[in-house]
């Protein structure tokens, strides 16, 4: 019910430090658009939560992402030209896909977005990054390709591609003093990405301090732990009980899981609403969030060299513990002996009234 006229009213929402923020999203790195698609799965927060103003304290957000845009072609590109000309301020630049090396060939392009009106030729993605990065409030890499190069940067690739920090420099800072923010994952875990964007919006609104990042430019609260540290199969490892075939519910390290040395929270967070993930649901961790992905983890289905050693070390301890726990487990699987239907009361209580 609306309050009556004149009754005092609390200001339930403080106006943010900036009223509007644009998100310019380039999917035209060497990408599969999988990060954009993944982000449509996010619910914490969802895209609509952010765009419809369902979260208190945020500026109004305008999203310009080619997968979701209403506009097409020139009408869509207008936002990018406006940002370049300083007419769209402030904006956060999101980059998706590896950054190709356009210098290694004499002509043509590896990746481009839009057409140059003067030459009729495509405008390279690198050109857009050069134009927009200096004007952005912050630059965010969605997924491992943009962050570190990822799958398209594997050995033998023809494009010489790399991550954005390799391209702009690891010490790069935005005009607001913010380093590149990497949210790796192949694809990016939906909520990890939206939560990072939310943090930056809070920061833009003056409601949060500088985003905490590690030396690989990842948000520390998302990538500070390993897959193994969050894995619900970790206890199998502790008991040296290893899966010997896929489909088993035991620890997968001997089948190629790199979880013990990979920074990622998927085993804690799951993929969506806690459902899915990787080793927790039977998929070996192939290190898809890591700067060394994919080459340092291939062939994916071989046992990681380190785990062959560590699993030997743990075997004596693990087997002993497993045997002892099995004994205790048998014990605690039995009800106390006083629970019976006979005429005697053996619980230890001494009745005085019956």
């Amino acid at each position: 019910m609306a309050p009556e006229n004149g009754s005092p009213r609390m200001a339930s929402q403080r106006p943010p430090a900036v009223s509007d923020v644009h998100i310019l999203w380039i999917t035209a790195g060497l990408s599969c658009d999988g990060d954009s698609v993944s982000v449509t799965a996010a619910e914490q927060p969802s895209i609509e939560d952010v765009l419809l103003g369902a979260i208190p304290g945020l500026p109004k957000v305008h999203l310009h992402n080619p997968v979701l845009a209403y506009e097409n072609g020139a009408e869509f590109m207008k936002f990018f030209y406006d940002a370049e000309a300083g007419r769209l301020d402030p904006f956060v630049l999101v980059v998706e896909g590896s950054i190709p090396n356009e210098k290694i060939k004499s002509e043509g392009y590896w990746a481009a977005m839009g057409t140059d009106a003067k030459t009729g030729q495509p405008i390279t993605t690198c050109e857009w990054i050069d134009r927009l990065a200096p004007k952005a409030l912050a630059v965010v890499c969605a997924g491992t390709c943009a962050a570190y190069g990822g799958i398209h940067a594997m050995a033998g690739n023809p494009t010489g591609c790399m991550g954005l920090a390799d391209y702009l420099g690891w010490g790069w800072r935005s005009k607001a003093g913010i380093p590149i923010v990497n949210v790796p994952g192949c694809p990016v875990q939906p909520d990890n990405f939206m939560e990072t964007v939310l943090y930056l919006l809070y920061q833009a609104a003056g409601l949060a301090p500088m985003i905490p990042l590690d030396d690989k430019l990842r948000p520390t609260w998302l990538f500070g732990k390993t897959v193994h540290e969050g894995c619900d199969r970790g206890s199998y490892y502790e008991q040296a009980d290893f899966a010997e075939e896929y489909g088993s519910s035991k620890c997968l390290v001997k089948l190629g899981c790199w979880g013990p040395v990979v920074n990622c929270n998927v085993t804690k967070r799951g993929w969506m609403r806690g459902i899915g993930g990787c080793p927790n649901v039977g998929g070996i961790c192939i290190g898809c969030t890591m700067p060394g992905f994919p080459d340092k983890f291939m062939p994916f289905m071989d046992e990681p060299p380190g785990s062959s050693l560590s699993t030997v070390f743990i075997t004596g301890y693990g087997r002993t513990i497993r045997a002892l726990r099995s004994l205790t487990n048998t014990t605690v699987n039995k009800e106390p002996k006083w629970r019976h239907p006979s005429r005697a009361l053996n619980t230890g209580y001494r009745p005085h009234t019956y």
Binding site: C32, T40, G108, G277, G283
Partner: protein, 598 residues
Amino acid sequence: MATIVQPGKGTAPERRNLVDMNWDPITRIVGSLGIFTKIDFENREVAECYSTSSIFRGYSIFMQGKDPRDAHFITSRICGICGDNHATCAMYAQNMAFGVVTPPLGEWILNLGEAAEYMFDHNIFQDNLVGVDFCEQMVKETNPEVLAKAESTASPHASAHGYRTIADIMRALNPFTGDFYRETLQVSRLTREMFCLMEGRHVHPSTIYPGGVGTVPTIQLFTDYLIRLMKYVEFMKKVVPLHDDLFDFFYDALPGYEKVGDRRILLGCWGSFNNPDVCDYKYGSMGNWGRAMYVTPGVIVDGELVTNDLIDINLGLRILLGSSYYQDWQDAETFVKHDPLGNPIDKRHPWNQTTLPKPQKRDFKGRYTWVMSPRWYDKRTGDYLALDTGGGPLARLWSTALSGLVDIGYIKATGKSVIINLPKTALLPEAQFEWKIPKWSNTIERDRARTYFQAYAAAAALHFTEQALKELHAGNTKTWSEFKVPEEAISCGFHEAVRGVLSHHVVIREGKIANYHPYPPTPWNASPRDIYGTPGPYEDSVQGSPIFEKNGRDKFKGIDIMRTVRSFDPCLPCGVHMYLGEGKVLETHHAAMFGTER
């Protein structure tokens, strides 16, 4: 031997004024696509169309020398919306190469995952991406008279979906503010949860391996899936009639709209959902187990089924150049001279392809895209057919209907239609839908088929859940089979990506990948003019297409072109870009030349 291209539908050979119009990028698709056109505004027709992709990544190059067991992990990354289709197809090819068969329960789990992918992907694409082209805001800006008519047109199936008028449906499709738009987005998450139950993660699955899946089969797994599936089944009872109302209205409101995006019926479907009772992953029996799939493979020419044999389909594959930024591989190594049955393999077959990228300036009179031109060689006529996939569902339903092989209770193919039976759900009684072979392979029918295929995938998933539970109840819990990687092998995988045909071809030497060529649907659909001058399906279906949009040159949105391109469900991690140019008048010239010469 050159395929003669039909002159654009309705194009008269008289001199005409053409305006250069292009859209780069085309949004609301996956990947980067540009569409460049020449438009005849006086005669309200698209005269020429070129499709261009602005991304090159080089999968077939960097996969050489890698472990063949890694193929499905790597190729999943080709596509960010149907990566799992790639992983699945790669795994089919691995199984054939390694001589291993997935245990039945593993096969059902994979089928359930892939069914969830269709349910998710068609859903989000249809109503969050395509739907915007039919939403109130868009129709108001392009055809206000159509919106006015929609306001006064009662929805024939209003009782099924709750939207009183067609304009109410259009309003519900407005991006973010429309309630059906938001509901669809929400349902797209429910279906992705179903997917994650079976394949671990979306879009790049974690639990697929050669030989089966790593998913742990429990009662809980299938319960969690089924509960969500039944919500989707209920949703379908509203969604199918809603789209029938919307699409039928466009035929009524804009007489002649059936000509938009219409092209010769040249459809390909490579089949989906293996039947573990029949599928042994051997090349020699591929025809049999292909026909046992729950979506029947087929090549359809002018409405006739040419073949539903995957071996014939395989032998007819050709990769042509012509307008792409590659050098020819005619002088490169021939990897496979004969298939395992002794049939000769063409130099232009994917098994023998060598990718030689040559970046260069874009030239619409020469080379203008990173997409090659896959074609299907019709040995009856000698034509290299530019098959399209109808966005996936149109070809799948058409092929399944014509073959008349699928009969699982929930689904029955009749020879001229596909009947889908959906059980009672929480609030709605049983429902039956019948998809009938349409008269046209056009924009509206591609979109309509998508909706019906959503229901088809849900119905198939009901069958797969029952089969999986039967295995589980019988104590058959194996989901993965052991294998050895051979030193030498050739193999192929055939599947249906969400938006159509998908094949993976691999050659293994010394235990490593010597050659690998994935052919997803979009190279078929988005291909440029080939060496014979035959345009690709986007180009072909936009060329000669009439224009119904009311806007003149100055405010032209190209909505009819956009609807056509999106009806194919473009997924070019390689895409289409449309850029609305200044509209300068080009030189006048003869229209009848299009496609026959470049």
